[in-house]
């Protein structure tokens, strides 16, 4: 019998904010010692109250806009009660009844064709801490408590593991390239709901949920294993399927049922009285829309039109800060293709030699566009520009001040260029004669002499034109 796989996903994504969702603790995304990033609020001490981080609302709404969701103008928080030592308040603040985004849509393209995946909702919530086990004791680390997350819940619209992995890859690059999430290891976690039904039927089969998976590869394997288990049960009656929560064992490649205790909890949700409902008015929504980074596909297309290579686009997509730098430099009037080369060839090379990564690039858009423009205008030679970049990257120098100190900037006027050209013609009679007799290559010798004399300053194109003009006489 032919069977159809039906899958729905709940994906948790950590938002890239400077501080936690309900307190001002920062730096949670960098590796630090346990409990370094903790205050009385995120440690659940009595007397502290949650205060909403506005940025979380904006990022969640932005993610919703990218997934074509409606933004709920009235959104509220609920408390979810359960005991676990890594949850300091014994409740998690999340959204049950009025999530921030609903009714979205994502198109997923695989070899089998394109499919619409409907997004049921996106809600905001806080993360829990973690337990560290050692010797006879367990320890709690609250660094991650109250780290902002969004949970993206789809309708059961996936029909294959390929679609699931493609969708997750799309989310990942979308969020990473726009800075909504760093999407580092473990910052995206998935619960997979899966059932199998006879092809052509409408009714859903018995659903099982595989909890908390972080790697795409494991998700793919887990779905394949679970689908086979369901089909064997339906086809051969190997076991009776029950609605339950399961976990995937990465080593054995199998799923197994979780204890009832972990799954049949009544979370006793209720509205959090400490957090007033958030009202997103027209003005705020317009602002969020205006600040929405251009989504991946559109952005890649725009870069491509500028003549930026596919390889360079891939690099830009993986580092949103670099893409942002390029966008800003372009906005300051530089040519996109040239600017991309400056960043991804020149700067990247210097970074590599210094043992740094592309994301470590610390130059302002103003600084970089200054260098690019001066080179274009012929007021700075390329070698000097590169030396300046080295000083910026390795010593944190200011590009404008550095060029000034080093005397790199040359003010060229045409009368000076003219006298240099005259001199070059005078001292290269053989080349001049050759050129005039039709050997165009001979021009290079005279041109080279000019450039040597000018020490690389001056606009080469302009000099060449002036030289040719002179030689006509």
């Amino acid at each position: 019998m032919a069977y159809e796989l039906v899958i729905g996903l709940e994906t948790h994504v950590e938002l890239n904010t400077e501080s936690k969702i309900f307190c001002s603790c920062g730096g949670h995304s960098s590796p630090i010692e346990p409990n370094d990033c903790v205050c009385p609020a995120c440690a659940g001490m009595p007397g502290m109250l949650p205060v909403m981080n506005k940025r979380v609302v904006e990022l969640a709404a932005t993610a919703g806009l990218m997934l074509n969701c409606e933004i709920n103008r009235y959104t509220t928080f609920d408390k979810k009660n359960y005991y676990y030592p890594d949850l300091p308040c014994a409740y998690q603040i999340t959204q049950l009844n009025h999530p921030i985004c609903v009714n979205g849509l994502v198109k997923v393209k695989t070899a089998a064709g394109e499919r619409d995946i409907r997004i049921k909702q996106i809600h905001m919530e806080e993360d829990a801490g973690k337990l560290v086990h050692g010797g006879n004791s367990s320890y709690v680390d609250f660094n991650r408590t109250s780290v902002p997350l969004i949970e993206i819940v789809t309708q059961p619209d996936f029909r294959s593991p390929e679609e699931v992995v493609t969708y997750l890859g799309k989310l990942k690059s979308m969020f990473k390239s726009t800075g909504i999430s760093e999407c580092e290891e473990g910052a995206m976690r998935c619960d997979v709901n899966i059932s199998v039904r006879e092809e052509g039927t409408e009714e859903f089969g018995v659903r099982t949920e595989i909890k908390n998976m972080a790697s795409f590869e494991a998700i793919d394997r887990a779905i394949r294993y679970e689908a086979q288990r369901h089909m064997d049960a339906l086809e051969f009656g190997t076991e009776e399927l029950v609605q339950e929560t399961r976990r995937f064992d990465d080593v054995t490649g199998k799923t197994s049922a979780m204890r009832n205790k972990e799954t049949e909890a009544d979370y006793r949700y209720f509205p959090d009285p400490n957090l007033m409902p958030i009202v997103i008015d027209d003005e705020w929504l317009e602002q969020i829309k205006a600040n929405k980074p251009v989504a991946l596909d559109e952005k890649a297309e725009a870069y491509s039109e500028m003549g930026i290579s596919d390889k360079e686009i891939a690099m830009l997509m993986s580092e949103h800060t670099v893409a942002k730098l390029l966008d800003d430099v372009i906005a300051l009037g530089c040519n996109g293709k040239d600017a991309a080369a400056w960043i991804l060839t020149d700067c990247a090379g210097i970074l590599r030699k210094a043992g740094l990564k592309l994301k470590d690039l610390a130059i302002t858009a103003d600084g970089l566009s200054f260098l690019i423009k001066k080179v274009e205008e012929g007021k700075l030679n390329r070698g000097a520009a590169k030396k300046t970049l080295i000083a910026v990257i390795e010593q944190g120098a200011d590009p404008v001040a550095y060029c000034d100190e080093q005397g790199f900037l040359v003010e060229v006027d045409s009368s000076m260029i003219e006298s240099v050209i005259d001199k070059a013609i005078e001292s290269n009679p053989q080349a001049v004669a050759d050129y005039k007799s039709g050997k165009e290559k001979a021009l290079m010798a005279i041109f080279g002499a000019c450039m040597k004399e000018l020490k690389g300053s001056g606009d080469p194109g302009q000099i060449r034109t002036m030289l040719i003009e002179k030689l006509k006489n």
Binding site: P50, P85, D266, F270, M276
Partner: protein, 396 residues
Amino acid sequence: MKYYMVKFSDKGTIAVDDTILVKGELSCAGSHILDGYKPLFSAEAVERLIAKGYEIAGKTNVGEFSLDLVGEFSYYNELEDGETLKGAAAELVKSGEVKAALGVDMNGSTRRAAALSGVAFLKPTYGTVSRYGVISCAASGEQLGVYAKDADAVAEIMTVIAGNDKKDGTSLRNESYTYNTNDDVKGAKVCVVKELFDKADDTVKANITSYAQSLKAQGVEVEEISLDFVDIANTAWQILMCAETCNNVSRYDGVKYGHRSENYRNIDELYVNSRTEGFNFLTKAVILYGSDVLSKHRYADCYDKALRIRRQVADKMKELFSKYTAVLTPACSKTEYAQYDIKDAFTKVFEESVFTAIPNLVGTPALVSNGVQLMGNHFDESKLLSIAKTVERKGE
């Protein structure tokens, strides 16, 4: 009885209930579960008083999480046989040892204590005083208020502590509020609620009647009215209060601070034994009741219904305050409470809270003065204080 949990200054003029944090000082909310807990920060109201030059005398004993009548079931209390029940902060104010005290009004214990001791206590409008640094139980209706000997002293302290605090998401936007006691009360209309009047004993009834007489003598109109929803409003508040308290005290689990049982082999036993030893019978009853009303099968009929009742009562009270300046009621059914068994506490407090629940449920202010209670509309504290002052003056 025990007055102070900790006393740290003889010169201090303000006492602070043990449900309110003072940096570095023991803060246990009357509960064994918070044994030895010293906070890293002070409540906003405490900071504001200190900034204005007031000195804090010490932390006053309260009943465990202020869930009892007036403070009788503090883990740290020392009651003598036959001693009647009083509130520690209210008694300190009455004796003149301190000028005023801060208390958290959550389920009426502060207002009952003020009535028994014959001092004033104002439960202000929800959101006017920051709850930052209050050991929170019922966040949606609890409010930090002021005990003092008279209306003027209440107004003075309230003016210092009220006003927006960014650390409290429920804090209202006004930077400051001012309180006065000299509104003209002539022509004001006050109503007495028959249903609440009838629930009080004869002494309390006589107090209400004589208070009404005094008001009439000052040119205030007094009428009796009927409010048929006082019991349902109280039940709604008890549901919300228990649910929120159950949730807020969940964090006291023996893992991070406070009492941890010595007797456990795994995390479940650590939780169960620490909490079994750390909470008293009344708190356990509130936790069970609160847990029940939030459970899947009861939520719609209990918790959600209570929220709907809250909205309806708010509408009805708004309508009432369009006709009357204030509502005059008892703050409790008696003028003296004898000691009693903690197993009866849940029911007893439930019954007594019928007098105090509406302001907690709908966030309106209430003032206890001369043993009676005046409820007012949102932000009408000064009207209540002015009415109370005219009667205080007559007593002089």
